[in-house]
């Protein structure tokens, strides 16, 4: 395994972003060093505006600015139609707009962004929502414009993420606060009913006055109404939806128990035969709502539903009779001529008409090296131009491009079915058993002629056996596991994913960007020692070519005084040759140069030939993520592993070494083939599949698999739609995460057994028809609280055992 990047010699880090300063030329202001001019510029702007407190709050809080942003990139924001779609509100004097800034990560960001009105005086107010990574801006139309605001943000290093997806679904972005209201109502009613009821419970020997008792009862009923009809309505809705789809889910017995508890209590209170169970009922609802809240606290700042639209730019520059107009993508038609700049993603299938195209398809197809495209050749949507300005003729509109077609696949269009979880299954049998016990004991008392006891028995059995404990243990365990995962930079879409993770038995990995790093390739030289003169010669020749391998060689040799090359010739896909100082030099594949490879190493090899002699070769190979080999060794013991890649098979040997012989390894796979492979595993081999990938080319497979996990390199990188997002730095911990998910299942089972003991105690009284509200009022909080404590304690304990606690 090769870990070294062979690039840096010094260890200075950038004052702005903390990255290592790797360039030879020192970029500095006084004692402060920067990794790139972009970072330096940001510092200068902040310094000018007296905003350097940014650097005092946190060390190196900035975001690296290596990609320079061209001046007119945001010209399209002057277009009224596009602007209308992006802003929230305007009265032509002031405008409100919300930007999504994935770069927000620390208190410095917060401070700087909220002080942005110092840089742009036209901004009236800026408020950050850290949880959602959003910036809410109100600005004055007279003093500034949307374009200027975006440019200011970009200038200080926070380029807003503007995407088509935001445009199309602005409404879905509302915060749902109903759960808070419900918890408030349930808590309020629960506490007050409890207070009133306790007076009743403790006055057994000294009964309260009749008038007061009536008042107490009325108060309890009034307070319980909002609990039943408002706070608990989601249980009834879920139960009803289950019945409509002809299956009993876990909410059904809960809803049933709530209804019976309520009617039974009303009956007892109105006939004066007892105190009712309204306190237990509202308590249960309160605890269950908190449990659901814990479980649903997912990550608002991470979007799990991205499709191709959020990767595409909003607008393109269309050239019409020599005039350049920024045009919204949906308006770009076939045969339009468009301009594409460096680092832009090309959103349409198009033919190259002008410029030097070097397209990085790694995100779309998984190919690790950029591709050189000649004039007249086709460029597919999703590729990223790396070098210079291009002019393209649109062949297919964005909505019909090759890449977009993947989303029309059935996997994406089919609605997600409501999955019956294991808990729903338990809930179903639970209902049957409880009904059987209830009616069994009812029948028993009916035989003995005890009519009142019969009703007592039936109702109290149903009350006491409510599977709330199961719901509680599931919600609290999953909620805590989600939290622990989140602390470890592994973010799940929802709590059911934990259940899915615990069931998988086959893991499919993508190569580029998943087990290898996308950006870095290592380059090594083996063979005869290269003299300084040789190095200059090789670098001079390689410098003539725009092939990525040549670029790597030039960077690797790091030569500044290059020689002139005569008779330079490049043979596409083979190699280059030329004459330097009367020496004939060739570099390229072995067939091109004529010779054999020196080593049996893996990777792309470039042989060097100078004046009739083969000197050695450069080996370019992918950089594997640190810890990947160990991770796969660990996973191999428990799961089947496959690797499926869109790249060529130059790395086959390295991968074979890591994965071993029993794993299937497939190369040159299209996105559709990846999806089909997952389908084959599921339907043909009945496997439960976890897919781990990173690019759009994995999107289909991620969606099709039981659990699709996307790997994100940095916090701001964009991941395709998935069930979970894992930070690349913690990918080696995946095995541990799976173990915790499985432990979670055991914890739920264990706590469920414990709650069953409480239930059996309750049932013991219930079947005899003597369960009093006092016993219920003691058992209920005991069981709920002990379950909450146990689930929390056990998940924490497991997390500590697996070293996931910080």
């Amino acid at each position: 395994m090769i870990y070294d990047k062979n690039i840096s010699h010094q260890k200075t880090t950038c004052f702005h972003c903390g990255d290592e300063c790797t360039t030879n030329k020192k970029i500095s202001i006084g004692e402060k060093y920067f990794c790139c001019n972009g970072c330096k510029t940001v510092y200068e702007i902040l310094n000018e505006n007296d905003l350097c407190e940014y650097y005092e709050l946190n060390a190196s809080p900035g975001i690296e600015q290596k990609n320079t942003i061209r001046k007119d990139k945001f010209e399209f924001l002057d277009n009224l139609e596009i602007k209308q779609k992006l802003i929230q509100f305007t009265d032509n004097k002031t405008t409100q707009v919300i930007f999504y800034l994935p770069q927000i990560h620390c208190s410095s960001c917060l401070w700087l962004l909220e002080s942005i009105n110092i840089v742009d005086k036209g901004i009236i107010k800026a408020t950050v929502n850290f949880t959602k990574k959003e910036l809410f801006i109100t600005y004055n139309e007279a003093d500034t414009s949307l374009r200027k605001v975006v440019e200011t943000l970009t200038k200080i290093g926070y380029e807003p993420h503007l995407s088509l997806q935001d445009i199309d679904s602005k409404e879905a972005n509302k915060t749902d606060r109903t759960r808070w209201y419900k918890i408030g109502v349930a808590g309020f009613c629960f506490a007050n009913i409890m207070m009133v009821s306790i007076a009743d419970y403790v006055s057994i020997n000294n009964p309260v006055e009749y008038k007061i008792k009536i008042f107490f009862s009325l108060l309890c009923v009034v307070l319980s109404l909002p609990v039943l009809f408002y706070a608990a309505n989601e249980f009834f809705i879920a139960a009803w939806n289950g019945i409509k789809n002809k299956y009993l889910n876990i909410d059904f017995p809960v809803a049933l128990a709530l209804v019976i508890t309520f009617t039974r209590s009303i009956y007892e209170l109105s006939t004066g035969t007892g105190n009712g169970y309204l306190d237990s009922m509202s308590g249960i609802v309160f605890f269950m709502l908190i449990g659901r809240w814990l479980q649903s606290r997912t990550y608002k700042s991470i979007s799990f539903d991205r499709d191709y639209k959020s990767f595409f730019p909003i607008a393109l520059n269309v050239i019409n009779n020599g005039k350049i107009t920024p045009t919204e993508i949906s308006q770009v038609k076939k045969n339009d001529i468009i301009q594409v700049y460096s680092n832009d993603i090309i959103p349409v299938d198009a033919i190259l008409s002008k410029g030097n195209a070097k397209i990085d398809y790694s995100f779309v197809s998984g190919e690790s090296l950029p591709i050189h495209i000649n004039k007249g050749e086709l460029i597919y949507a999703g590729g990223k131009q790396l070098d210079g300005l291009l002019e393209l003729i649109v062949l297919k509109e964005a909505s019909q491009s090759y890449l977009t077609n993947l989303w029309n696949n059935a996997t994406f269009t089919k609605k997600q079915k409501t999955k019956a979880t294991i808990y729903d299954l338990i809930g179903k049998y639970f209902t049957y058993v409880v009904l059987a016990i209830g009616f069994g004991s009812g029948l028993f008392w009916y035989m003995l002629g005890e009519k009142t006891l019969m009703w007592n028995a039936i109702t109290t059995v149903l009350i006491v056996a409510c599977p709330c404990a199961l719901l509680l243990s599931q919600n609290y365990t999953n909620g805590n596991i989600l939290r622990i995962f989140g602390l470890n930079k592994f973010y799940l879409r929802a709590a059911d994913v934990i259940d899915d993770i615990s069931k998988i038995n086959h893991i499919v990995l993508d190569k580029t960007g998943t087990i290898t790093e996308t950006k870095n390739a290592t380059i090594k030289y083996t063979g005869n020692q290269l003299s300084e003169e040789n190095k200059i010669t090789i670098a001079s020749l390689a410098n003539q070519s725009s092939h990525p391998a040549s670029k790597l060689i030039v960077d690797f040799l790091n030569i500044s005084n290059l020689h002139h090359v005569d008779n330079y010739k490049e043979t596409e896909g083979a190699g280059i040759e030329g004459w330097i100082n009367e020496q004939h030099i060739k570099i390229g594949s072995k067939n091109y140069v004529g010779g054999e490879y020196f080593s049996t190493n893996n990777g792309t090899k470039v042989v060097v030939y100078i004046d009739g002699k083969i000197l050695g070769e450069f080996i370019i190979s992918n950089v594997y993520r640190i810890g990947i080999s160990e991770l796969i060794q660990g996973l191999k013991k428990r799961f089947k592993i496959s690797l499926i890649s869109g790249d060529n098979d130059s790395e086959l040997k390295n991968i074979k070494n890591i994965l071993g012989d029993n794993s299937e390894i497939l190369f040159n796979q299209s996105p559709q083939q990846k999806l089909d492979y997952i389908k084959y595993l599921q339907n043909g081999l009945l496997q439960k599949v976890m897919m781990i990938g990173d690019g759009l080319n994995d999107a289909g497979a991620l969606k099709q698999s039981e659990v699709g996990i996307a790997v994100a390199d940095t916090k701001n990188s964009f991941t395709p739609s998935s069930d979970g997002v894992i930070d690349a730095s913690v990918l080696p911990k995946l095995n541990v995460f799976i173990q915790l998910a499985q432990a979670g299942k055991n914890i739920i089972f264990l706590t469920f057994c414990i709650s069953a003991i409480y239930n059996i105690i309750g049932l013991y009284f219930a079947v005899q028809g003597i369960l009093s509200p006092v016993i219920a009022a003691i058992l209920m909080p005991c069981s709920s609280i002990s379950i909450i404590l146990l689930t929390y304690g056990l998940t924490e304990m497991y997390a500590r055992k697996l070293h996931l606690n910080k």
């Binding site: 407190e53 709050l57 208190s107 002080s115 408020t127 959602k132 606060r177 009133v196 108060l219």
Partner: protein
């Protein structure tokens, strides 16, 4: 003993007041973002900011 009814009503209306205060705070968005206010409080007030919130 009937004074207990009055006491109970008083206590519930006080609790109700807190419930309304809670609703108010939820409605105001205090529970939407639990990170930024916690950090904002640590900043020195030297910034020339007209923000009230």
């Amino acid at each position: 003993m009937s004074v207990i009814i009055i006491l109970l009503l008083v206590s519930i209306s006080i609790a109700g007041g807190f419930l309304i205060a809670f609703f108010w705070s939820v409605n105001d968005g205090q529970y939407d973002d639990d990170t930024s206010p916690a950090q904002r409080i640590l900043f020195d007030n030297k910034k020339i900011n007209t923000n009230k919130k």
